[in-house]
């Protein structure tokens, strides 16, 4: 096969061209790969397009990679000129074969900045590279840079001072809606890329931490996205019980939901309400709403613990499940004390202004089940009248379950309930590893208990 310098030159240029033509011919390519093939087959391109998959025969890589690599370095050293189109082609080829080559991503950053390359196209290249190299740190890092660019562009567009006449304002409005749709599409696409990469490589820390980053930067305060993520990763963790990264992601989601419920409860309730009915944006933040959004978060703790116990029972002996349990228990303790703070405040309020029925011993009654938080907001009773919340105290075990309609305050894990869980595990199961983890958890609980008392 072509070994002399010139022949390699011709061959490689043809291959680079073949790759860019393949993308032109099929814009839906969704996976790349290397086809094991030690020898070249005469007169056939090493680039294979099958369905939506792009394959490179392995024999040509040893010619291709050093060639495009050198060419790009010469360009960087200003020894060799390349036009923009050639740069796009060369960096694509290079990054599909070796996505951790930072210089190539940097060249693409410059192309993006001068507008010669669209951010979407660049994200697409990264997505393809991740199908072959799902961990590639440089690809994830570059992605975050591109996403930040998109966010900056979006905020620049939305902050453009609107013209004074009404028509322009309307156009402005349409544009901002288009913009937010575009951002939410980008967000969903990122979630898809992350879950794909997580499926291709076990414990793919890079993919999961990217997913967290995306939520922090693109979905800040958007409760619905966090809830959706929580439900969409549920099945995934159920069939990846030893993958700590997935559980860590859920811990992050629950913690964020808890923080957001404490900080912006009205938004919390109304965003949950939008799926069921309309809630006026100017809804006043009542303490009751605060409690409502907060108890719904506590409900999450309850569900997560149930899931955890369930999985432990089905699949004994996985440490990731035990460490997840620890973290949820810890978060739950935090949540509980925050809720208690809220409740005692509501108690004072109720006693000072609203206590009309003269009940001397206000029991724990909340007027709605968690599943329908909307109605409480939409119902007639919320206009100034005293609510049915007469105050409640979590610490009182008798009052805990006295609810008028539905269950509101879930059974949260407590130190005693966790201890009895451990005892039941130790009694029922003889899986040696599982027992060891259970004993370690018991020890940990003891240190937590010591800290609390």
């Amino acid at each position: 096969m072509a070994e002399s310098g010139e022949e390699v030159d011709v061959l490689v240029q043809r291959v680079v061209k073949d790759i860019s033509n393949a993308f032109k011919r099929n814009p839906n390519i969704d996976e790349i790969g290397v086809i094991p093939c030690p020898e070249a087959r005469y007169n056939r391109s090493p680039i294979v397009l099958l369905e939506n998959k792009l394959g490179v025969e392995s024999w040509c890589i040893k010619f291709l990679l050093p060639y495009v690599h050198n060419k790009l370095l010469l360009y960087r050293q200003r020894k060799h000129w390349l036009d923009r189109e050639a740069l796009v082609d060369i960096t694509s080829t290079l990054l599909l074969l070796n996505p951790d080559f930072t210089t190539a991503w940097n060249v693409r950053k410059e192309l993006l900045q001068c507008g010669a390359l669209s951010p979407e196209k660049d994200l697409y290249l990264g997505q393809l590279a991740l199908t072959k190299f799902p961990k590639s740190p440089e690809t994830w890092i570059h992605r975050r840079w591109v996403l930040q660019l998109i966010l900056r562009q979006a905020s620049a567009m939305s902050h453009k001072s609107p013209n004074n006449d009404g028509g322009a304002e309307q156009a402005e409005c349409g544009r901002s809606q288009e913009l937010s749709e575009h951002l939410s599409r980008t967000l969903h696409q990122e979630m898809k890329v992350c879950s794909d990469a997580a499926g291709r490589y076990p414990s793919n820390y890079n993919a999961w931490s990217h997913r967290i980053w995306v939520l922090q930067h693109m979905a800040q305060g958007n409760i619905k996205v966090f809830h959706d993520e929580l439900s969409s990763t549920r099945l995934w963790v159920s069939v990846h019980v030893s993958d700590h990264s997935g559980f860590h992601y859920r811990q992050f989601l629950i913690k964020e939901l808890m923080t957001q419920a404490a900080a912006r409860p009205s938004q919390c309730v109304s965003s949950m309400a939008t799926s069921n009915g309309e809630v006026s944006a100017a809804e006043s933040v009542t303490l009751e709403q605060k409690q409502l959004s907060f108890t719904s978060v506590l409900q999450l703790f309850h569900q997560e613990m149930e899931l955890c116990s369930d999985l432990m029972q089905s699949f004994p002996g996985h440490e990731a499940l035990w460490s997840h349990r620890r973290h949820i228990f810890y978060l739950c303790q935090q949540g509980r004390s925050q809720l208690q703070g809220l409740c005692s405040r509501s108690m004072e309020d109720v006693e000072s202004d609203h206590l009309t029925d003269g009940d001397p011993d206000p029991p724990l009654i909340l007027h709605h089940s968690c599943a329908h938080p909307v109605q409480s907001v939409n119902g007639q009773r919320h206009t100034g009248e005293p609510m049915e919340v007469d105050g409640f105290s979590l610490s009182d075990p008798h009052n805990r379950k006295r609810l008028k309609r539905g269950v509101l305050v879930p059974n949260l894990p407590t130190l005693p309930s966790e201890h009895s869980f451990i005892s039941s595990v130790l009694e029922e199961l003889h899986h040696p590893e599982h027992r060891r983890f259970a004993l370690a958890y018991r020890k940990w609980l003891d240190t937590v208990g010591d800290l609390q008392s």
């Binding site: 790969g33 094991p36 998959k53 392995s58 159920s238 069939v239 990846h240 029972q313 089905s314």
Partner: protein, 199 residues
């Protein structure tokens, strides 16, 4: 937690005869799937050949677990899973599949049947259903403990081989593997040798 292949074979005097197989290789790179499928066939046959009649064994090979059940009548089944997948569920599945297979396919066809001619279509269904063991197997929670003492555990494929035998040679000689798969095997081996170099 993943099942990659499920196959039914007949253990002959020297060779194992593949009767039917199902594969789920969706989690692998598209261009490696055909080679991996050949390797799974090759491995399943090799394991059955090297396991004795009326035995159950689990063989760990890198990040895969191969579970095999060879019945006293030489009808055998192999499931290849990842390490996370519960072993007991695998053996329950193997029992079930062989039970059903032996009822539906006449034993005259076992020694010579081919995947194309054997009429048994449930393997694909089982393979996809058992991807989520909690849904497929009601017993998951009960933990009906499999008598683990009866399952032989091998920590590598090599321990199945006879003295002086080498996996590389078996790969080179195998009729289950095409040239592309053999090339693929060589690249894997050379990669893992590089990784295992003492630093």
């Amino acid at each position: 937690m993943k099942l990659y292949s499920l196959s039914v074979l007949h253990k002959g005097a020297t060779k194992a005869n593949l009767l039917k197989a199902a594969y789920d290789l969706s989690s692998f790179n598209f261009f490696q799937r055909s080679s991996l499928q050949e390797f799974m066939t090759f491995t399943s046959a090799l394991i059955v050949e090297r396991s004795s009649q009326g035995s159950r064994a689990s063989i760990k090979e890198q990040e895969y677990m191969c579970h095999v059940y060879v019945r006293n009548d030489n009808l055998s089944a192999v499931v290849i899973a990842d390490i996370e997948y519960p072993q007991r569920v695998c053996f329950t599945l193997l029992d079930k599949v062989l039970e059903e297979f032996s009822r539906q396919v006449d034993s005259i066809d076992w020694p010579t049947g081919k995947p194309e001619t054997i009429n048994y279509k449930a393997l694909d269904i089982y393979l996809s259903k058992y991807q989520n063991p909690r849904e497929a197997d009601a017993m998951t929670k009960v933990q009906a403990e499999l008598d683990e003492t009866k399952v032989i555990l091998h920590h590598t494929m090599e321990s199945l081989l006879e003295r002086g035998e080498k996996l590389d040679d078996l790969v080179a000689k195998s009729e289950h593997l095409g040239t592309q798969s053999k090339a693929f095997y060589k690249t894997i081996v050379s990669c893992s040798e590089i990784h295992n170099l003492p630093s």
